[in-house]
Symmetry: C2
C-alpha cells in the first residue's frame, strides 16, 4: 500500500486530514499491562530494546488496543551513546546511567558502524513494517545531538542539564566536535531505519528548553539541521518531525532553521503560538500528558480546544510529552474516540 493512504504521511506533506491522525509519545509504555508483562520477560530495559521479538511486540500492543495512526519503533535515544561504547545502563528507579565523558574522551571517540552495532534495532524496524497494518505509519526516531550530549557529559539526567551547559561554555570546540559526531552517527542510523521500512522519523530534543539564545541556534538548531541535511542527501523524500521540548519562543525559528516537515509542540506551547507555527506547516501535539491520568471534563475541554484551534490545519494529534506510567488506559480510549469524532467544518 502506498504512503498516500497513511494519514500521518499526508499531514507531513502539509495536508489537512479530518479527523487528524493520532498517536501518543511513549504509547508503548508502563501504563499498559501487556507492556509490563512483556517487559518482565526481558533482562532490563536495554535488553527489551535489543530483542526484536520483544521490541516488535511492545510496539504493536498500543496499535492493537487503540488503532493509532502511527506506531513508533520501541527503542531509546541512548542507543547511540551505547553504540559509542559509553556503557549505557538503565537502573530501575534511577533513570539512565552512562560513563561521563570529558574533552579527552571526546577526542578519542570514533564513528561507530551504526548498522552493525544497532542491527537488532534495525531488525525490529524491518519486522514491524511487515507486521503493521498497511494504513499505519511506522515512525523511526533518534535523540537530538544536544540531548544525547547532555547525558554523555553528566553521565545521567539532571534537573536542568547544567553539566553539559557548563562544559559547552568551557570547552566549546570539544563540545561542537561531540555534537558533530553524534549528528553523523544519528543520520546513518536514521537512513538505515528508513531503508528497513520506517515511513518517517522523529528527532527528540528533550532538553532543548534549557538553552539560551545563541546556544539554541548552535546546539539545538544547527545539529538537527545537519542530521536532516545528511538524511535528505541520501534519501531525498525523507519526512521528519522535530520535537524541541520546552523551546518556547525559540520554536519560531525552528522549522525554517532545521528543515523539519513537522514541529512537535510540548504541552506548554500556547495555542495562539501553535496556530502561528501551523501557518508554515504541520504541527504535532500538544495535550498535557497528565490529562491521561486526570481524565473527565478537564480532558474533554483540553482536547476540544486543541481541535478547535489546530484541527483545521495540518495536525498530528499527540500528547505534549510522553504518556506516564500512571495514565489510565480508559482515558486513552476516551481521547481517541473524541479526536476521531472531530468533523472539522466551519469554525
Amino acid at each position: 500500500m502506498a504512503n498516500e493512504t497513511r494519514k500521518v504521511m499526508a499531514v507531513l506533506e502539509g495536508k489537512t486530514v479530518t479527523p487528524p491522525p493520532i498517536w501518543l509519545m511513549r504509547q508503548a509504555g508502563r501504563y499498559l499491562p501487556e507492556y509490563r508483562a512483556t517487559r518482565a520477560r526481558a533482562n532490563g530495559f536495554l535488553d527489551l530494546c535489543y530483542r526484536p521479538d520483544l521490541a516488535v511486540e511492545v510496539t504493536l500492543q498500543p496499535i492493537r488496543r487503540y488503532g493509532f495512526d502511527a506506531a513508533i519503533l520501541f527503542s531509546d535515544i541512548l542507543v547511540i551513546p551505547d553504540a559509542l561504547h559509553r556503557n549505557v545502563r538503565f537502573v530501575e528507579g534511577e533513570g539512565p546511567q552512562l560513563d561521563p565523558i570529558d574533552a579527552d574522551g571526546i577526542a578519542k571517540l570514533t564513528m561507530p558502524d551504526v548498522r552493525k552495532s544497532l542491527s537488532p534495532v534495525l531488525e525490529t524496524v524491518r519486522r514491524l513494517r511487515n507486521e503493521l497494518p498497511a494504513e499505519t505509519t511506522l515512525l523511526g526516531f533518534c535523540g537530538a545531538p544536544w540531548t544525547i550530549a547532555t547525558y554523555m557529559i553528566a553521565g545521567h539526567g539532571t534537573p536542568d542539564q547544567a553539566p553539559a551547559r557548563l562544559f559547552a561554555y568551557q570547552n566549546r570546540k570539544a563540545f561542537q566536535h561531540l555534537l558533530a559526531l553524534i549528528a553523523e552517527a544519528s543520520a546513518e542510523y536514521l537512513i538505515a531505519q528508513i531503508d528497513e521500512g520506517a515511513d518517517a522519523i522523529q528527532i527528540f530534543d528533550s532538553w532543548a528548553g534549557v538553552l539560551p539564545d545563541e546556544e539554541f541556534r548552535a546546539y539545538a538548531i544547527a545539529p538537527v539541521k545537519r542530521i536532516i541535511d545528511l538524511v535528505r542527501a541520501a534519501r531525498p523524500s525523507a519526512k521528519v518531525i522535530a520535537f524541541a521540548k520546552g523551546a518556547g519562543y525559540n520554536l519560531k525559528h525552528y522549522r525554517a532553521g532545521t528543515g523539519a516537515d513537522c514541529i512537535g509542540l510540548d504541552w506548554t506551547v500556547p495555542l495562539d503560538f501553535a496556530a502561528e507555527l501551523q501557518k508554515d506547516g504541520a504541527v504535532q501535539g500538544n495535550l498535557d500528558p497528565l490529562l491521561m491520568v486526570a481524565g473527565g471534563e478537564a480532558l474533554d475541554g483540553a482536547v476540544s480546544r486543541i481541535l478547535d484551534r489546530l484541527g483545521h490545519g495540518p495536525l498530528i494529534f499527540n500528547l505534549g510529552h510522553g504518556i506516564t506510567p500512571q495514565a489510565d488506559p480508559e482515558n486513552v480510549t476516551r481521547l481517541v474516540e473524541k479526536v476521531r469524532a472531530f468533523k472539522g467544518g466551519v469554525r
Copy 2:
C-alpha cells in the same frame, strides 16, 4: 533621598538608564564566603530568614562587595505557607519540605495575620531601608500563588510539579480557592513590606513554565494580577517586577495580563523576543547563571549580546535565574565591571 535617584526605580518607570542598573537574583547566597559564615550562626535556613540581625547582614553583604543597584530582602517564598501553618522546614541537601495539603485541608485554611506572623521579616525590611545607601533600591518579594501552591500540594519540589497540575485538573474549585487565599495573603504581605520601606516588589513564579495554555492564564496570570490589583488599590504607586520562569511564548501576554511594570526574563528567552517585550516596557534579565561559574570569553560575549540588544531600552541587568553556589565571586566582579562600562550610544 527621593526615588528618582534610584536607578532601578527609574527603569521601573519605563526610563532607559545608561549603563543599566544591575542586581542578581540570589545575590545573597552560598557563593559568598561571608554569607556562609553568617548562615553558620543561624539554626537552619528559616531561622536565618526570621532573625532580622542575620537577614539584614546577608542582604547587605553583596551590596558592600559589588555595589549592586538593588538589594533584595533576604527571605524565602515559603514564608507564606509557613504563616499558613503548613510546617515548612528546610532539610540540608534535600530542599524545602511542607505538610502536603489536600482538598479538605484547603477548605480548612484561614487567612493568616501576615503582619503578625511575618513581623521578623518586616523588621528586616525596616532595618534594611535605614542601613542601605540612599541610591540603592530595596526590593521586597513574594512567591506567585501558582508556585507556592505547587509546594503546598506536593509537600516538596518535583521535576515538573505534576502533583499540583494533576490536583488542579481533578479539584479545580479547591485549587482556585487555594490560589485566591495565597494571593490575598501575599498582597497583605507586600503592602506591609512597602510600608516598612521596600521601594518595589518582585513576584517570583518559578514554576510558571510547566503550565499549558488555559492554565497559564488561570493560574499564572490571574492570581498575579489579583495580587497587583490589591497592592495598587492600597498603595497606588507600587512598582512590581513579575518573573514567570520558563513561560516561553506566554510572556507575550504576561505584562498586559498582570499589570506588572517590568517582566523578568529567564536565561532561555531569546533576545529577539526580549526586544519585542521591551517595546511595551521594562525588562529584567537574562544572563545564564552558569556564566558566573564559567566566566571568560563565554561570559563576555553573552553580556555584550544582551547589552547590545536590550541596553538601549528600559533594562535592569540581572541573571536569568538565581546565582548558584558554584559561582566564582570574581566572575561577578567581571560582570558588574562590564555592565558598568556600557556607554549606549548609536547601535
